[in-house]
């Protein structure tokens, strides 16, 4: 199945990636080739087959509701590329021109 450059640009936005025009062209041709191969799956009869999302089909693993120490603020912020004393810093989200 061929993926257009327009679709690649749309998916890149969803994926929060920025692609150059050259990357967009290459991505369209490479993904088209890979997705063409995936068409193989269309030939498998999966009528009535339940999807298997996880090899170990365990559900609802509970633990006791006990208070345990978590990461302290300084450790959590230690790797932040931009921070102040107590928060991560991001560009202004509200009040943009």
């Amino acid at each position: 199945m061929a993926v257009s450059e327009h679709e690649i640009r749309k998916v890149a936005l969803l994926a929060r990636l920025e692609l150059t025009p050259e990357e967009t062209r290459l991505m369209a041709s490479q993904l088209s080739r890979v997705l063409e191969y995936m068409e193989l799956l269309g030939g498998v009869d999966t009528e009535g087959v339940e999807p298997l999302a996880h090899a170990v089909e365990v559900t609802n693993v509970f633990r006791e509701d006990r208070v345990v120490p978590g990461l302290d603020r300084e450790s959590a912020l230690a790797n932040a590329p931009h921070r102040d004393e107590e928060c991560y810093r991001v560009p202004a989200v509200l009040g943009e021109a």
């Binding site: 990636l17 193989l40 799956l41 999302a53 230690a78 790797n79």
Partner: protein
């Protein structure tokens, strides 16, 4: 006498216990070997000589004091660089995490340290474990110790190469679609992917969470058993880890294979399999017959769909897992000032042109921060998989790709269920060919993906599987034998592998030393 770094962990462990050598001597031998050979091989992203020697000294001190020591006391081990080591850079071979220092240890790292193992460094991998050649590492590729022009495989290429080149006896890798077994095969060593949930994934940087599993790489099945005993076990911090007792894999190694039913799949030996690989695998099957095992022909009818299903499911999970790299919480972030200035310039230009639609579509500052950060922080293969996964999960394609792949995944698992009603173990090739040349497949993603056709099934079905050396090509490249077993039958796999290694010596062969003439991989 062989250099200490050429001994297996089991041999070293005996010598250390008998005080024939000290842990410091063992670690020094390994560090010397790394210093001599790793410029050529490029197995390590980071070596920690001071920390390693301090760990070894602590083991020696405790031994002298008569303390009870752990099962891996004084044994050097290398850690794949997608496993968190507290306070020490953990990069996933990505620019995105080039300076990331985890605030905690992965559970397997805690277990190794508690067992007395000496961590000597972090090994190279394909970026975020996405790749089969270690060429997608953002830092440098790794070379195959058997032929420096070839790949060691991937994604645990550094983990396999450092054991093959006898830099360390033990190595910890991760396997999402073959990333332990394929490099083990291409480097001529032993490697095991445990049952999904057998080993805690806490502190393993997530790639595809329903497929990822941590496991051992070593010179022999016996050493894999030794290392697995330390790695395996339930962990409340990983809700998918299995709360089941861990057997003593080492004590289960011995025993006759008489009556063991080994399934083989005729389809494995038809088109696409290198004739030398086919021959080596057939010889291994005959050797098993000689050991009293019974060969049984079986079919895995949906195996030929495994690569297609895998390369929808794994990238889908990856696209979700890698959403966390946003340039805000940790990791790389683009130059914010330059980015904001450029965005403002774009806005003015669009305003001047009166293009209302384009203005409306223009990224917000935060979205542009995410996109630019990720564009600069991720390499081409990671971007490709994020795009593929996002596409497969997007509205309109979800049913046709993702859901379809999950249904095929169940059919693949049911194939295994039927097969294991008739046989105890399934044997076959690990890879369609021996190690390919560096650069040969890197610009052809589909060719790289198809190299995984024999290994991805075990991940999709959550089964344990291992690779052991079973021969060499005419060019002297190692060939691997793949053994797969039902869930939680790691002991059976290791016993079968060990039995073959008692009557053959291929796992004992080591590559010729590249010597000082080799060119620096980091150059």
């Amino acid at each position: 006498m062989a250099s200490l770094c050429e001994l297996t962990a089991a041999e070293l462990s005996g010598r250390l216990r008998r005080r024939e050598c000290s842990a410091v001597e063992v670690v020094r031998a390994c560090l010397d070997r790394i210093a001599a050979e790793d410029a050529t091989v490029g197995a390590f992203l980071c070596v920690e000589p001071e920390w390693a020697l301090a760990q070894a000294e602590a083991v020696d001190r405790r031994r002298r004091a008569g303390a009870t020591l752990g099962p891996l006391a004084g044994i050097p081990v290398a850690i794949k660089d997608n496993l968190c080591v507290q306070g020490r850079v953990t990069t996933c071979a990505s620019r995105m995490l080039a300076n990331f220092r985890p605030p905690y240890h992965a559970t397997v790292v805690e277990r190794l340290l508690a067992a007395g193992a000496v961590i000597v460094g972090k090994t190279n991998l394909d970026e975020f474990a996405m790749g089969g050649s270690t060429e997608t590492s953002a830092f440098h590729p790794t070379r195959n110790p058997w032929d420096a022009a070839r790949t060691p495989g991937g994604s645990s290429g550094g983990a396999a190469a450092c054991v093959a080149a006898r830099m360390v006896p033990l190595s910890v890798g991760s396997d999402t679609g073959g990333s332990i077994r394929q490099p083990a095969a291409l480097c001529g060593i032993s490697g095991l992917k445990p049952t999904y949930g057998r080993v805690s994934r806490f502190g393993l940087v997530a790639f595809a969470s329903s497929l990822d599993q941590i496991g051992p790489l070593a010179q022999s099945a016996e050493d894999c058993a030794l290392l697995l005993e330390t790695l395996a076990g339930h962990d409340p911090r990983d809700s998918t880890s299995l709360d089941r007792p861990v057997p003593s894999y080492v004590s289960e190694l011995e025993g006759s294979l008489k009556g063991l039913r080994i399934g083989w799949v005729p389809d494995h030996f038809t088109e696409g399999l290198d004739p030398e690989v086919a021959q080596a695998v057939r010889e291994a099957l005959r050797a098993y017959e000689g050991l009293g095992a019974e060969l049984v022909e079986i079919t895995l009818p949906h195996a030929r769909f495994a690569v297609a299903a895998y390369y929808i499911i794994a990238p889908s999970e990856a696209s979700s897992n890698l959403a966390r790299y946003d340039g805000v919480h940790y990791g790389y972030r683009t130059d914010e000032k330059a980015m904001l200035a450029e965005l403002e310039e774009e806005r003015r230009a669009l305003q001047a042109a009166g293009d209302a639609q384009a203005l409306d579509d223009l990224d917000s500052a935060l979205v542009r921060l995410y996109r630019r950060t990720r564009a600069e922080g991720f390499g081409a293969e990671v971007k490709r998989r994020i795009m593929l996964g996002t596409y497969a999960l997007s509205a309109g394609y979800y049913d046709a790709y993702y859901l379809k792949a999950l249904k095929v995944r169940r059919l693949i698992r049911e194939d295994y269920d039927r097969a294991f009603a008739k046989v105890d173990v399934i044997a076959g090739p690990v890879t369609p060919a021996p190690a390919f040349r560096l650069g040969e497949k890197i610009s052809d993603p589909l060719a790289m993906y198809l190299f995984d056709l024999y290994t991805v099934g075990a991940n999709l079905a959550g089964l344990p599987a291992l690779s052991i050396p079973c021969g060499f090509s005419r060019e002297g490249l190692p060939i691997g034998l793949h053994l797969q077993a039902p869930a939680l039958e790691e002991g059976r796999l290791l016993r079968a592998a060990h039995a073959l290694q008692q009557v053959t010596d291929r796992h004992r062969r080591r590559p010729p030393s590249p010597g000082p003439g080799g060119t620096d991989i980091r150059g």
